[in-house]
Amino acid sequence: MQSIIDLIGATAIGGMLLITLFTSLITIQENNMTLRSEMEMVRQLEYVSGFINDYFLDKVGFQLPAGTEVFPKAKAKHLRVNTKLADGDDTIYLVRLYTAAKDDDYGYPFYIKHAGLPNIGPIWLAEKVNFKYYDVNEVELSNAELDTADGRARIRSVKTKLTLYYGEYNSESMVTRTIEFWKYFPNLEI
């Protein structure tokens, strides 16, 4: 009888230990995956912000022909810019950076399109991309000013806000990170 009680006790305690062990391992794996996905997301934020600033917006205003508007469109969610891109390429490209309509399953698709070259995107964002525009005195330009060509001609810097996510969009597993970065256009002021 005593050995049966011992057996039941050992099974109960061993069972509890095993359940705790497996639960802990699953939790650790889950946390580990979240951590890895966040690290990947931060890497992507660095990459995306880098190629926007260092490639698409780097030569804004450089050797632009007279009469060509630098910023044909400057909205909070949509930026169009006439600019050169790569070194040695004298073509002026119209580059469009914008978020299209929301997809309920994936969020906001962010595109970078420019005629004659492969497009980039969609890059799925948790929120719409947000551009803010500033004049030479670092004063933010209003929507009314940005609706006019004269107002857009006063743009000297732009702030971009990107919010990437990882996991399933709009679910509890969704993890977001937001980064803000700036680009000044000294070529427009020389």
Binding site: N32, V136, E180, W182, P186
Partner: protein
């Protein structure tokens, strides 16, 4: 159950708990490191903004070389991004061609940038410190 067996079970529980606590401790440490890296990345973007601002003013016709020095002498500003405040401090100093501070205005200015990122739930993350600031040198090219 004999006392010996109970003791063994207790020891097993203690060992198991210690191992699990070690796992969790390391995991949270990595979370902390990762979060600090993210704030550091955003801090570097803020520092990049300051450097671009300096270059912009240097190249623009509205600010002369002395004006550039004056504009960033003890320059402070705070930017709030998400759950963190980024406190910017810039010190400008006249210097020679290798960055050594000189008393008199000359052909070169050194800008020392320090950014303190103060998140809501974590310790301050520094991007550039008092002893090791991020630096930019500007030469008077006669713009």
């Amino acid at each position: 159950m004999a006392y010996g067996q109970m003791l063994m079970v207790l020891l097993a529980v203690i060992l198991f708990s210690t191992v699990m606590m070690g796992y969790y401790n390391n995991l949270f440490r990595w979370y902390d490191i990762h979060n600090r890296e993210f704030y550091r990345l955003q801090g570097l973007k803020v520092a990049d903004k300051v450097f671009q601002q300096i270059e912009f003013q240097h190249l623009s016709s509205g600010v002369d070389f002395s004006g550039l020095y004056n504009n960033f002498q003890n320059f402070t500003s705070t930017i709030t991004i998400g759950p963190a405040d980024y406190m910017i401090n810039v010190q400008s100093a006249w210097c020679d061609s290798v960055g050594q501070t000189s008393e008199l205005p000359g052909l070169f200015i050194r800008f020392d940038v320090r950014i303190a990122c103060i998140p809501e739930t974590q310790d301050t993350v520094w991007v550039g410190t008092s002893n090791f600031p991020l630096q930019k040198f500007v030469a008077n090219m006669g713009f």
